[in-house]
């Protein structure tokens, strides 16, 4: 009886492996040929405002039952479609499904025209203008701002410098504040032995390849693991969708505008201005005590880009605000994507927004 059972197991396993290898061959060829398994940023949306390369999108929804609207944005070196990665794994789609009116701000891909853009260009000019345009489109007077990673820094810079942002509340995800805790890798930048001009190319910006390289070099075996995972799951169409979307996003950085980079190195990294209360943006002093709206700080405990120690001090710096801190056992990216986002991040955000939102009049 046992012998018969083991024979059946063997045959079942063999058949499964043959089937999987056939699927591996099919998906492998499709992948190598550049075939698409999934479309990133697929949630329907409309362009409501643009200025230069900066674009403001509003996601279509039949049921905008909650207010105020929510405006999400990243920092300057990553692509905004991480918020709407692919159908079934879209941060935006989940917020829409919960009745929120969602806007997305995309800073665009900078070239020579943006080389002289400073942090103030983004935090004191473009962000307030995008907020105005969003409020106009939504016919509202207040908004919730959701800044992810360096996007959170732009929010802090803007509101701390007294930027005209009619924010009802703020959501700051994986936002670095204490740059002295960013890890030893940044030490040569912090101690001034690195000349930022070295990293700036003839377009006046830090090239995307260098931005990408600075992330990849700190994870030397990540490509090996990615390909091992890929081989193991190549037969699985659902895995391939997630893999392609995520792999594309992870390798899709944009150039860092040169002037903003110089400022970032001197004021944020070397000066550690947020923690030392010495940060100036566009000539205005950044005082985080000016922020008096409710704030949700989402901190990723296993963040390999913004270490926990660099993100942790933020709630303590927001002395004038009602701050709720949620620490998640997540990494930098899966704070907004995947199961971790579904289980913890999005429910935390919805809970926070519910406490500071009002139902929309019919």
């Amino acid at each position: 009886m046992t012998e018969r059972a083991s024979e059946v197991d063997l045959l079942t396993n063999l058949r499964r492996e043959v089937e999987r290898n056939a699927l591996r061959a099919r998906n492998g060829l499709r992948y190598l040929a550049g075939g698409r398994f999934v479309r990133t940023g697929a949630t329907p949306r409309d362009l409501v405002w643009h200025h230069g390369k900066t674009e403001l999108w509003r996601y279509r929804s039949e049921r905008r039952t909650r207010r105020p609207p929510l405006l999400a944005y990243l920092g300057l070196v990553a692509r905004s479609y991480v918020f709407d990665l692919f159908p079934g794994n879209s941060f935006v789609a989940k917020l829409l499904a919960n009745g929120f009116d969602v806007f997305l701000l995309d800073w665009g891909v900078p070239d020579e025209a943006e080389a002289s853009n400073t942090i103030a260009t983004y935090s004191l000019e473009l962000l307030p203008r995008a907020v105005e345009a969003a409020l106009d489109a939504a016919e509202e007077s207040e908004i919730t701002l959701l800044g992810y990673c360096m996007g959170g820094c732009l929010t802090l810079a803007s509101m701390g410098a007294g930027g005209p942002l009619p924010a009802r509340s703020l959501i700051l995800m994986a936002t670095p504040t204490d740059f002295s805790k960013m890890g030893d890798f940044f030490e040569p930048m912090r101690n001034g032995s690195f000349d930022p001009e070295t990293a700036i190319d003839e377009t006046g910006n830090v090239p995307a390849s260098l931005v990408r390289g600075s992330f990849r070099v700190r994870k030397p075996t990540s490509d090996l693991v990615v390909y091992a995972n890929l081989w193991q799951n190549l037969w699985n169409d659902a895995y391939m969708e997630g893999f392609q979307a995520m792999n594309e996003w992870v390798n899709d950085q944009v150039p860092f505008p040169g002037a903003a980079f110089r400022e970032f190195v001197s004021e944020w990294l070397i000066g550690n201005g947020l923690v030392n209360h010495r940060l100036h943006v566009g000539g205005r002093k950044v005082d985080l005590g000016r922020i008096r709206v409710p704030v949700l700080c989402l901190i990723a405990e296993q963040d390999d880009i913004v270490p926990l120690a660099a993100a942790e001090p933020l709630p303590g710096l927001l002395t004038g605000a009602d701050v709720q801190t949620v620490r998640l056992p997540a990494g930098h990216i899966n704070l907004a994507t995947g199961r971790q986002a579904d289980r913890v991040t999005i429910p935390s955000i919805i809970d926070f927004l519910d406490r500071h939102a009002t139902p929309r009049a019919a």
Binding site: H51, G52, S116, D184, S193, T203
Partner: protein, 108 residues
Amino acid sequence: MAAQQPRWRRAFDSMEEPLRKRLEAAAGSAEFARVLLLLLEGWTAVGKTTRAASTRLLHVANLPAYADLRRLSRQLGALESRVEKIATDLERLSDRLDGSGPRARRAK
């Protein structure tokens, strides 16, 4: 979970994990960053020297070099952002004057 992994994967993981820990510790160190920055400086210097030499050669032949095109492109870029800034200022000014802009409407 690990027991469900195929044998090749378990072997891969058992090799990758200690290697990753060592390499990440090295890659996250200030020394490694210093070496990288030295390489970057070297690369930038080589690039600048090569470009300067090719620019000189092309200029001798009375031809525009890549550097000239980039310079033009930067100047155009600066002009573009200046025009955009003026457009923004104008928009704000007209908003303030006729009170028809979003901020004015919300204030009403």
